[in-house]
Symmetry: C2
Subunit: 432 residues, 2 copies
Amino acid sequence: AQDLHHSCQWGSGIRWGDGPTDTGMQRLALSEDDKSVRDWFIQTMEDLKCNVTVDEMGNIFAVRPGRRADAPATFIGSHLDTQPTGGRYDGILGVLSGIEAIKTMNDLGLETEGGVGVVNWTNEEGARFPVSMISSGVWADCIPLAHAHNLKEVPTVASLPTAASEPETMKSALQKIGYMGDVPCSYKSTPMAAHFELHIEQGPYLVTAGQRVGVVTVVQAFRWFRLNIIGRDTHTGTTAFEHRADALYAFARMMVRAREVAAAKKCLASVGIVEAKPGSVNTVPGTVSFSLDIRGPETELVAEVEKELRTEFDAIAAAEGAGIGKPCRVEWNLEFDSPAVKFHEDCIDCVQQSAEAVVADEPVADTKSLVRTIMSGAGHDSVFTSKRVPTSMIFIPCKDGLSHHPEEFSTAEDCATGASVILQAVVRYDRK
Amino acid sequence: AQDLHHSCQWGSGIRWGDGPTDTGMQRLALSEDDKSVRDWFIQTMEDLKCNVTVDEMGNIFAVRPGRRADAPATFIGSHLDTQPTGGRYDGILGVLSGIEAIKTMNDLGLETEGGVGVVNWTNEEGARFPVSMISSGVWADCIPLAHAHNLKEVPTVASLPTAASEPETMKSALQKIGYMGDVPCSYKSTPMAAHFELHIEQGPYLVTAGQRVGVVTVVQAFRWFRLNIIGRDTHTGTTAFEHRADALYAFARMMVRAREVAAAKKCLASVGIVEAKPGSVNTVPGTVSFSLDIRGPETELVAEVEKELRTEFDAIAAAEGAGIGKPCRVEWNLEFDSPAVKFHEDCIDCVQQSAEAVVADEPVADTKSLVRTIMSGAGHDSVFTSKRVPTSMIFIPCKDGLSHHPEEFSTAEDCATGASVILQAVVRYDRK
Ligand SMILES: NC(=O)NCCC(=O)O
Ligand SMILES: NC(=O)NCCC(=O)O
């Protein structure tokens, strides 16, 4: 927990309390602050006698060798980048639990069959470059390297310290901070025996039930879109409603409808980014661009919500401007598609057994009830590693289920529990 | 018409056709392009033997002296700034008709009792600095000079060539282009006998009825607000709808409701600017800021729409986040208030008589039917001059009633008609 906050000195975000660690984090991927924490991470791992490599997506792999030099290492991985108004736990906890595991193994002189590694994946958040988990996606050969390298940053985070005047690509951002490594970004060049990830739940189930550990078995599906609505710029003071093709009004109706449609299918639909042009008080916006994030427990459900919204949005667009024979129109661009995932039984078993062992000393009658299986609502790099190697995840509770918010918080005790579980899970897996 | 397009070489905007003049305009107030057209305007007026002065708001006054040196001049005025996606007529036509009038008077050797002036008012559009007609407002002593000087530019026009990285104030922008004059900005320092303004209608009435000239008798009321919605940032993938205080969803409901409430009272309500923070695909926006422009034919109606929307918006905010006991809240800031205006009988009479005289040769039976009285839906600098001196306006038709759009268009014939009417109106007024 000491180290966790230590690593948060680079990129501290919004302050919400008086204590030294009462701030959020604002460490966008490949920013100067991200460079600083990466430098620190490498130094720390080298001090712990790990071999460090950096690949073409800036992913950093640090391996503590095992007895068998030829066997791939079992990895603990997560990410050090954050949301623009992020907290101190999302991702950071996962990487720091890896460092703790290596430290503990060194202290105990513990030998493993294969090596044990820690990986920091680049731009997991998808906040600066709007495809989440993109670098584990390239590693898993699910996203082409060129697509990732050419991806442009979101201009609306332009008020943040990382921003240049022209939107930067991932490639130029990697080069700028010196983290374009020479190892190919691929599961073939950097193989793994397995991938484990510790994360805060980011939702309310564990904390509400008073449970200590979530054994993550599945991750819900999600799709990200960028939509454009094209209407007509016109004067706000002289243009009757019937004569407007108001792209922002159409957007407002779409957003209201998106929640209704998603809720009816027990899915989620959210807009995080909206840009209305030309952006003048007395001009009806003729162009609106916005992000749409649809999620649901099954891939098929997400597809159904998308289908229904395509029909509904077309109807809303057609109605706005019909009076002048120049209706709005709406364009959809799929930016990211992450089908539902089931994690690997072997990894799940290791986590389940480790979790039960760690909570066994708790002062309650039925300690097993402190551990539950759980679905992840958020995506994680484990989604992509699971395409290539056995993978699973561990959740710990977080306050109010709140994440992507400066006040995101987990107790030091819960963080320590999670770190113990992941260490045990890795050792168990290595011994299988 | 030649001169009108000549003056559009500085700041041409979006191209919509192949012809040399088939572009819109993008000449934000006090930009480099605005400086260029101002320099040209001053040179042109000096070449026409006018005396030019510039006041502390950058308003430029050019006077052709009359017989009586002590009598204040009768002015023709409008503005050379445009919307970010503006056209070639809004404002520009009015200033250019003033230049034409002076040229014609010089050519004819016409002497007047008082002088005749042309004024270019600064930032009429309210696009870059979000208070429209602000500089005629200071001149009329309706807006304090310090308030105007400290007004900040809208950051969302930051992608435009005029923008600095820190939002600029009107004062620094005036100084930067060298248009902070030394004459006090006041109707006392620069008195006028009267103010006439020629403008495109910006609405569909004249063009739909096939009428040639609108004699503007009244201007509708409008109020501009900046509203902030404060909710809670949170994760889009892990936060159920009931657990959200989604400021952008609240905004969407407000915008939909605003149209319903305004329509029921035969008023308008429009949103031109919206900013959602933090602006990340997978974070529910915790903060939204937006502009609201309410208009109606009577001051009282606008107040009623505002009152109803305050109640409705509070209810929408209270509902969003109620499930977590942290509802959104909404703040209103009044940025500009322009009550309904009635123009001066004497000026209206001069315009009516001039219009009838100008259209008298048209090949229709009842030429008087080509002229009608009309309300202005938009605000104009004449709103503020009317507080201090007799004022009225002339409208000519524009294609599709379209304005604040690059394709804004009036025929050369209609522009010439308008220019003839304003010249005659000024001469008639001078002779009264
Ligand atoms: N864990 C997390 O916040 N990941 C970001 C990707 C997502 O939006 O689910
Ligand atoms: N004429 C014009 O477009 N003026 C801008 C002020 C307004 O929004 O009415």
